[in-house]
């Protein structure tokens, strides 16, 4: 291996690492607020990339139907609850809350000639379609279980992932997609080519990471979200709407997921089932951060990305084995650190 190849692998590793960092970040965020280990995070990445791909092909993205389906299901559920409690005055508000966003998205999708929209407008539409899925799924799947154990929530997450996987196959079929790059400029730095897309991925990831770090560490809103995770009842007692906190966390996660998908879409071919492995690698990174620290999780993600890219070069068949085996020493270190393990989780 010479320096050029090494530099190329490093660039590749840092780019995928940035995506894993975003995923890790979303995972840490969702876990910190809701205690949900959100296995479906990678599915949002796929949704993001494939929604953009269908927009670029000039089609109505199939994820819109998913959005509509979730909205209708949530609406029916909440209406049924309101009717059972005879709170009929709440019905108009519920209908408005659930159905207005989807209607607006539909209006936007049908108003424009999707194929010839400028790239950024397509990106914006993609985010509009995918982001509301986060809070809707939280409402449909997790809200009722918000008080149960982490393990129960994890099992639900896995079940939800399986549903999303099936839906993804139904919506996009089995073939892979690659979106058109937002920019195909390449810079030449010394000997090597640096693609602008890679730089954009890394830049976007870093700025999102910094924004989330600031949001959680230094704003009242972020602190309220953290308080929810720490002690739901306590947070409720001091007036934090914990239900909204959960939905907000999932909205952020969906947004971050869709962004990751849009960023990675032009660089690698995504299939309907690519989400799971992306999630798991994000997990490896998040575990390195102990599921709590954003900067550590980000560092872990870059490590995972680089490791993956180098092991692809040396032993491509074993790249997954190598990446997932990395978890074990990390767990070992964590377990030595936590040798006085706490009581009853």
């Amino acid at each position: 291996m010479d320096a050029t190849i090494a530099a190329f692998l490093l660039q590749d590793g840092l780019t995928t690492g940035a995506i894993y960092a975003l995923i890790a970040l979303a995972l840490v965020l969702v876990f910190a607020v809701t205690r949900v280990i959100f296995v479906g995070q990678g599915d949002f990445v796929v949704f993001g990339a494939l929604t953009l791909a269908s927009l670029q092909a000039g089609m109505l993205p199939p994820t819109f139907w998913l959005l509509l389906g979730c909205a209708v299901a949530g609406c029916v559920l909440d209406c049924a609850i309101a009717i059972r409690h005879q709170h009929l005055w709440r019905l108009p508000r519920i209908l408005l809350n659930y159905l207005l966003p989807s209607t607006l998205v539909w209006a936007a999708l049908s108003a424009f000639d999707l194929k010839n929209l400028p790239g950024l407008a397509q990106v914006a539409l993609t985010l509009l379609v995918v982001t509301p899925l986060g809070p809707l799924l939280y409402r449909l799947v997790y809200q009722r279980l918000a008080e149960t154990s982490v393990l129960m929530l994890l099992i639900v997450s896995v079940a939800l992932h399986i549903v999303l996987l099936g839906l993804s196959l139904l919506m996009f079929g089995a073939e892979g997609f690659r979106t058109e790059a937002l920019s195909d400029v390449a810079l030449t730095v010394g000997e090597m080519q640096v693609s602008l897309q890679s730089l954009m991925v890394i830049g976007c990831a870093l700025s999102l990471i910094i924004m989330l770090y600031l949001l959680f560490g230094h704003t009242l809103y972020g602190k309220a979200l953290r308080a929810t995770a720490f002690n739901r009842n306590g947070a409720q007692l001091v007036g934090i709407p914990t239900r909204l906190a959960g939905q907000a966390a999932f909205a952020l996660a969906a947004l971050v997921g869709a962004c990751s998908g849009i960023l990675i879409g032009p660089l690698t071919t995504l299939y309907y089932d690519s989400g799971f492995l992306i999630s798991l690698k994000g997990f490896v990174a998040a575990i390195i951060g102990g599921l709590a620290s954003y900067p550590m999780a980000a560092a872990g993600a870059f490590l995972v990305g680089t490791l993956e890219s180098f092991s692809m070069f040396w032993a491509s068949a074993y790249k997954e084995v190598i990446v997932f085996t990395l978890v074990i020493p990390v767990l070992l270190i964590l377990s030595l650190k936590h040798s006085h393990s706490g009581e009853e989780h």
Partner: protein, 591 residues
């Protein structure tokens, strides 16, 4: 014949007769249900009972299958050697992974299992020796004596026998000393450690057992399919095993069978019906329907479907135990201490949590045959001191001695072993277990039956002695009528008394009681006071934290008053009642 054996016998007869009645295709389906059940049974012990979630069981099935494939097909040796190899490799791998991950808090284990489940799957698919993703074909049939196990109904027989035997053995295990330890892992591992249970060992035991059952299932699977490739051992399948027990009811062995059967049949029905209904894409829809179903079950029937069915069965009667002729357990050798040496002594204990000094220079001594009370306002640091004395927390500085031996820095388990037992301020009983079983947990250290004896029910003599000891302590504290009641259904005050019985069951020389009289009615307090007086006469040292002053003043020989983490006063009840500093702390000072 008892109910459990009857159910097992019925199951065995049912499985053996099934091939005569069912069509061949359904017999094959039944075999799969049996194989999945084996894995799910291990998972019930690990996850449902022990609270340790694993998504990686399919990888252990894979180890079992690939080991026998290499041994029997590639090397041409007997499948029985393949079984041995599979179990051996699984044992080593499970021990290693268990040692690495079981120490971690709740959610790291499932994530860890997910990761190594994937790693092993890709390893299966990429090792040239294992035939890549095409796998290994042409495995020989299993020979048992002169019998070649080759038809589906032969497999039904062998799977049925193994399944029933596993059910029986795991049932035995859960109803034993080791089983009680595993049952305490989920909700109260800290308490179990204080009762002398090595919880890490119990976790490892459950983990290895589940892995071995998975490997066994893989061995049969390999010889039934006669071809092994990575697909059935993917993480997806690992997830499905977990779904099985969630669906059936994770907390019970029969739930595993129900879940495995439901899931297999359900998948079959979906595969048959959905494509006809919707035209194509059956596999996809299967996934969706399946996931939605699991989410709904978790949302609306958290304990799985078995409890819903069990409502229609008559509830089992508590078994009548005749324990009176059981030989008493050996007691601790009571050595005489020099009369001036205290049983338990703390010297200059300091505990800091960051900037907060919870205990500052605390010293106290408890002699044999003495009741010492630790009193003080809320937040004075009494519970912290208890935790320092029992090894739950390490002191920042200072020393703790028990019978002249330094015990600060020892684990709660080691301290329990020396003869210090305790109760907890927040009651830590296993609410679903009977009072008798809860109390027997206290005697854990006094038995030594291991897993094999428990599995095969060779532990009954010792088990009788343990239960007899538990029953004796329950009678002693006056709760004999509640012996077979679930501990969670007792009043809080009574639960505190159960904790005392559990502590006494470990044959302690030193007893630490954290607010034993809280929540007791007047005559219950009288009974408790009598019990403590009796223990004092037997030469036990008792240290108790208590807020009820009448109770303390009437009982204690010596009182230590704490305030703001420090010793405020010490002396006899009379002296304390007249101490101006104590009066100031309790009633407010005179300005």
């Amino acid at each position: 014949m008892n109910r459990r054996l009857l159910a097992l016998l019925l199951l065995l007869v049912g499985i053996v007769l099934a091939p005569q009645v069912l069509q061949p295709f359904h017999v094959t389906l039944l075999n799969y249900v049996g194989l999945y059940s084996l894995v799910a049974l291990g998972l019930v012990v690990l996850t449902g009972v022990g609270g340790l979630t694993s998504f990686g069981q399919a990888a252990f099935v894979g180890i079992g299958a690939y080991a026998t494939a290499v041994v029997s097909a590639n090397l041409g040796l007997s499948p029985w050697l393949g079984l041995l190899a599979g179990l051996g490799i699984t044992l080593v791998v499970a021990l290693l992974l268990g040692l690495l991950t079981l120490r971690l808090a709740g959610h790291y284990l499932p994530l860890g299992t997910l990761a190594w489940g994937l790693a092993l799957y890709y390893l299966f698919g990429n090792l040239p020796m294992l035939g890549g993703f095409a796998g290994i074909a042409d495995l020989p049939y299993i020979q048992l004596g002169g019998w070649t196990i080759d038809s589906a109904s032969d497999f039904t027989l062998i799977i049925g026998v193994l399944l029933v035997a596993t059910l029986w053995m795991l049932g035995n295990l859960l109803d034993s000393r080791q089983g009680r330890a595993i049952r305490s892992l989920k909700e109260a591992s800290g308490m179990a450690e204080a009762m002398g249970v090595n919880t890490m060992r119990s976790k490892l035991l459950a983990f290895v057992l589940a892995a071995l059952l998975a490997a066994l299932s893989g061995w049969i699977y390999a010889h039934m399919q006669r071809i092994v490739n990575p697909t059935p051992f993917s993480v997806t399948m690992g997830i499905e095993y977990l779904f099985m027990i969630v669906l059936g009811g994770a907390a019970s062995l029969w739930g595993a069978l129900l879940g495995a059967a439901l899931l297999t049949l359900f998948k079959q029905v979906l595969e048959d019906v959905l494509p006809q209904l919707l035209g194509g894409g059956g596999g996809t829809l299967e996934l969706i329907v399946f996931g939605v179903l699991i989410i709904l079950v978790l949302q609306y029937a958290k304990d799985g479907l078995l409890p819903l069915l069990q409502k229609y069965l008559p509830s089992p009667k508590p078994r009548a135990l005749d324990l009176h002729d059981a030989e008493p357990l050996p007691r601790r050798e009571a050595e005489r201490l020099p009369s001036n040496q205290p049983l338990l002594a703390a010297d200059g204990l300091v505990k800091r949590f960051g900037g907060l000094v919870a205990n500052n220079d605390m010293s106290l001594a408890v002699h044999a045959g003495q009741v010492v009370a630790l009193i003080g306002p809320n937040g004075a640091g009494k519970s912290t001191l208890f935790n320092l004395l029992t090894g739950v927390l390490p002191p920042t500085s200072g020393q703790v001695f028990f019978k002249g031996q330094r015990i600060d820095g020892l684990s709660p388990r080691a301290i329990a072993k020396l003869g210090v037992s305790r109760t907890f301020q927040h009651v830590r009983l296993l609410p679903g277990m009977s009072v008798l079983e809860n109390v027997a947990l206290g005697a854990h250290r006094r038995g030594n039956a291991g897993v094999l004896r428990a599995l095969l029910r060779f532990d009954r003599a010792e088990e009788r002695r343990l239960l007899a000891e538990a029953a004796r302590q329950i009678e002693r504290v006056g709760l004999a009528e509640y012996m077979h009641t679930p501990a969670g259904s007792l009043a809080l005050g009574q639960q505190r008394i159960v904790e005392i019985a559990r502590a006494l069951c470990s044959d302690p020389q030193m007893l630490l009681l954290d607010e034993p009289a809280a929540g007791l009615r007047y005559n219950e307090k009288q009974t408790l006071a009598c019990l403590l007086e009796q223990l004092r006469e037997e030469g036990l040292g008792v240290l108790l934290v208590e807020h009820d002053m009448d109770f303390v003043m009437g009982l204690a020989d010596h009182i230590v008053v704490m305030e703001f983490g420090q010793r405020l006063a010490t002396g006899s009840p009379m002296e304390i009642q007249d101490n101006p500093a104590v009066l100031a702390a309790y009633l407010g000072g005179v300005e």
